[in-house]
């Protein structure tokens, strides 16, 4: 750290992680010099040596993907950014300790909503993550979080909703009125880690009933 005030060069160095995609982000100050370049290093907590992230050296953008470098989701990591101005001023700032298992957020699930005459089927697709098992196959959120479950809601009218939920991925809301629009929402919950996703929302209309036409 240089003695002079350089806080305007670099602020808010932190990991932003969702579904184990770990992106290091930062901000420059209000009146920072446009000619700033940034360099990123990272390390596992407890190690002495900082490792250079090769593709994020002397960059002008304010983010760097460290997903692979922080791929052990139970391991705590640190990252740091050095900002250098053309005039030679520089400052280095570090993240808090980061463990993706604890700190990653969960994105909304990917759902296919299939309207029928008197029902709506909702198929939730597995969410893969960048994390690979020992044999190289990509882990899904369900692999990583054994207590993960889904909660589905169908807004029938202003006062009435239908609810379904569980660990399986195929659901059907039945007993619906044909040719009517419904709003379906699906969320992921991981109780053990107090995580929940934002909702996936689909607006879908049941098919007209043509049996008597």
């Amino acid at each position: 750290h240089t003695a002079e005030n350089t806080s305007d060069l670099l602020q808010h160095v932190k990991f932003q992680s969702s579904n184990f995609e770990n992106i290091l982000t930062w901000d420059s100050g209000l009146e920072s010099a446009p000619d700033l370049v940034y360099s990123v290093e990272y390390k596992t907590y407890g190690e002495r040596k900082w490792l250079v992230k090769e593709s994020c050296q002397r960059i002008t953008r304010k983010f760097c993907n460290l997903t692979m470098e922080t791929g052990n989701f139970m391991e705590p990591y640190y990252a740091r950014v050095t900002a250098i101005s053309a005039g030679g001023r520089s400052v280095t700032k570090m993240t808090d300790r980061f463990t993706s298992l604890q700190q990653t957020t969960i994105k909304p699930p990917d759902v296919t909503c299939i309207p029928k005459v008197r029902s709506i089927q909702m198929i939730i697709h597995p969410t893969s993550t960048p994390i690979r098992a020992g044999d190289g196959h990509q882990l899904t959120l369900e692999d990583i979080f054994p207590d993960l479950f889904y909660r589905l809601e169908l807004q029938v009218n202003h006062t009435y909703q239908m609810h379904l939920g569980g660990k399986q991925r195929d659901y059907e809301f039945t007993g619906l009125t044909p040719d009517t629009e419904f709003l379906g929402t699906t969320m992921i919950f991981v109780p053990n880690w107090s995580k929940e996703s934002a909702p996936y929302v689909c607006r879908v209309k049941t098919l007209p009933d043509r049996t008597w036409t």
Partner: protein, 152 residues
């Protein structure tokens, strides 16, 4: 929320999630106080899950005693919110330790060579630091210890 821990032939239940939720509220503040980030007390080489089952209970019992006697007691902070959370965590640790003592009384918590060796390693990492720095670091590593327990 209750989790059953299988430590060899010692089986106990504990509310890991409650501890985890409690710690997550103070994690960033406590970990930010630990400025010595190139060393670590709870290392993979001494982890509970990589210890043979018969020695797991003894190792955990000694580590919990370390936390109760030299971490929670030595951790100083003017922040009352953090103090409240750490004392609640200490109470949870005390409950777990009592269950382990029952196993000890029933001869299902033997201390073999592996547990003794690993605990002495953990203790030496701990004692490389001043008492206050060690307390801060160990408290900041509570998520690691909870993860070890989660995998039992």
């Amino acid at each position: 929320g209750l989790k059953t821990l299988h430590l060899g032939s010692c089986v106990i239940t504990t509310n890991l999630q409650e501890m985890r939720n409690g710690f997550s509220e103070i994690r960033d503040s406590v970990q930010a106080k630990d400025e010595i980030i190139d060393t670590r007390i709870l290392r993979k080489t001494e982890s509970l899950q990589d210890t043979k089952p018969t020695d797991q209970c003894c190792l955990l019992r000694h580590v919990l005693r370390l936390y109760l006697d030299r971490v929670f007691k030595n951790f100083k902070t003017p922040d009352h919110r953090i103090l409240r959370k750490t004392s609640s965590l200490a109470n949870s640790f005390l409950t777990v330790k009592k269950e382990l003592r029952l196993c000890h009384a029933h001869m299902t918590c033997p201390c073999g060579e592996e547990a003794t060796e690993k605990y002495s390693q953990i203790l030496s990492h701990f004692e490389e630091l001043t008492p206050q720095a060690a307390a801060v670091k160990a408290l900041g590593e509570l998520d690691i210890l909870l993860q070890w327990m989660e995998e039992m």
